[in-house]
Point group: C2
Chain length 330, copies 2
């Protein structure tokens, strides 16, 4: 045990010492031609293009430290970005990770965060890793990740490609993350661990992004805000009408209700209007095109654009990061 | 004037409304095959590789709102990342920008920030622009940018390539940003505007990155921490001894002192140990290789690695974001 204690904080040791403890824990990228250590990394882009997305997670609105372990937070930060890459039909290639933390944060915390990032990449997108980053001090713990991906010569899956007659399909959890968040908010710590994990360390089917692309997915995105809201984005960008099959949604809700001991209407709300599952919502030209791992949810018809559950129009609803947030950091 | 007032805040209008006001102000990228609006952007990488860097700026340690206008902050956020791309010898191609701001922030503030980003890209790296981003709420204003660049078929300029006999050269401001910061800290609002601007909206010679690469630069980086510290990074990575010519440094200090009305020793300190000028520190095989726009600062000899001013060893000194920072956000 050193003079600075067994668990030094960011204030106790130099930035370079912190980085030397974190770097060996980070996942490496098979696409890194040059890794961390220079002003930039160099990443391979075999087909002369790359996809890029970025996401910032802020303590308070996006996560709470009494709910998430640092490992879970690292895992989720990787997962949400990897899902965005997958939804374009691309293979994730590299991440850069910026983290701003209070000076009193233990370096051990950062090590566990790095371990979670490592697990997230290894589990969801083996071959993808961290090629660079930045470390800052802030009273509000903030994580910002940018992820890149390789389209392998295919055209990207856009929101705008859905057409009359397409099939709507989905791969991944649906409703679990929202039920998990509800359980956390209402103090149901005895909720099934899978439910809490769906919120705290989501496991989107990143590998199915390229599968969908190869199967000819016509449009797609990952469901971060809610099925209704994100399907509305496809409907709007493609100028089509997207109809969810009411019986399918009811079946999914019944199954979710049974599995997690919630009532069916709550489960239905979570499926339609919950968010953060980060599964892949895609459209395909025909039922035959839909790959294994996807569930058929409905179909696409000519506009005007909108989202319907059976005959009923679903207002676009979802997560507004500003509305109703009181700014309290717990 | 709407019901919500002439200057709505982030809490007053929806995220999509905020984005619809900011997006038209952002610079577009000539390399964007697909811009904002899907889960990822698609960026061109003509030589099957891209360089990538990221930087996070936190209110308090990295900037203060009583010093920086939002326009300046946007400009600086672009400039610091563009300099990192340039120092690798690459052409900047795209930025993704994440911003977390208090809910009470006026949308007008974000618009001016976007205008500063636009000006930074246009002035320093025309053709580079914003292809995506994220907007969050946080009590601590935080900006995170990831920048990418194209090496145009050349090998990247690394820190590790300096060799015995190389010439050390520098392009850009040197010492001005540190003197500007000192003027701000000590309340010298009457300091020359160029000095304050060097700190608040640095203008690194981004265009000289590819010029240096074409001239055969053997090693390089941008000076973000200090000449002594960043030259130490080249020395360490290349395992060489880097000697700054004392007469050159004295001449530069005398010039800086005269121009900005500070004393010569203060100017010398700023040149050697000040940071944030973000100019390009490069080594070349010979004097003849050094392009216009670079000043010769010294030479490289065989290790052991270290940085010297004449015969005197310069301890690595620079900016530690944790040490001495009390966490107060003003």
């Amino acid at each position: 045990v050193s003079e600075k204690g067994e668990y030094p904080t960011l204030a106790d040791i130099s930035e370079s010492e912190v980085l030397s403890r974190i770097f060996p824990r980070l996942p490496t990228s098979d696409f890194a031609l040059l890794g961390p250590g220079d002003d930039c990394a160099v990443v391979s882009a075999p087909d002369k293009r790359f996809v890029m997305t970025t996401d910032m997670m802020v303590q308070g609105p996006d996560f709470r430290l009494e709910w998430s372990t640092p490992w879970q937070l690292g895992f989720k930060a990787a997962a949400t970005n990897l899902a965005d890459v997958a939804s374009m039909g691309a293979v994730p290639t590299a991440l850069v990770v910026s983290l701003a933390a209070p000076a009193a944060t233990q370096v051990r915390w950062l090590e566990e965060f790095a371990d979670g990032l490592h697990a997230g990449c290894n589990d969801l997108a083996p071959g993808c890793g961290v090629v660079g980053g930045d470390l800052s001090v802030s009273s509000v713990l903030t994580v910002s990740i940018t992820a890149t991906g390789d389209l392998q010569g295919r055209e990207p899956i856009l929101r705008s490609g859905a057409r009359d007659g397409d099939v709507i399909a989905y791969a991944g959890d649906l409703g679990q993350a929202a039920l998990g968040l509800h359980a956390l908010f209402t103090g149901q710590r005895l909720a099934k661990p899978e439910l809490l994990n769906a919120q705290l360390q989501p496991q989107p089917p990143v590998n199915l992004g390229t599968v969908a692309a190869e199967a000819g997915a016509t449009a797609g995105l990952d469901v971060s805000d809610s099925l209704a809201m994100d399907l509305g984005r496809i409907a709007k960008a493609s100028n089509v009408s997207c109809r969810l099959d009411e019986r399918v949604i009811d079946d999914l809700a019944a199954h979710l209700a049974l599995e997690y001991g919630v009532d069916a209407s709550e489960a239905r709300q979570a499926i339609l209007f919950g968010g953060e599952d980060h599964g892949l919502l895609m459209t395909f030209r025909s039922l035959d095109d839909v790959p294994d791992g996807f569930v058929i949810l409905g179909d696409v018809s000519e506009g005007p654009h909108g989202v319907f559950l059976g005959q009923a129009s679903l207002t676009e609803r979802g997560w507004n990061p500003y509305a109703g947030w009181d700014g309290t950091v717990s």
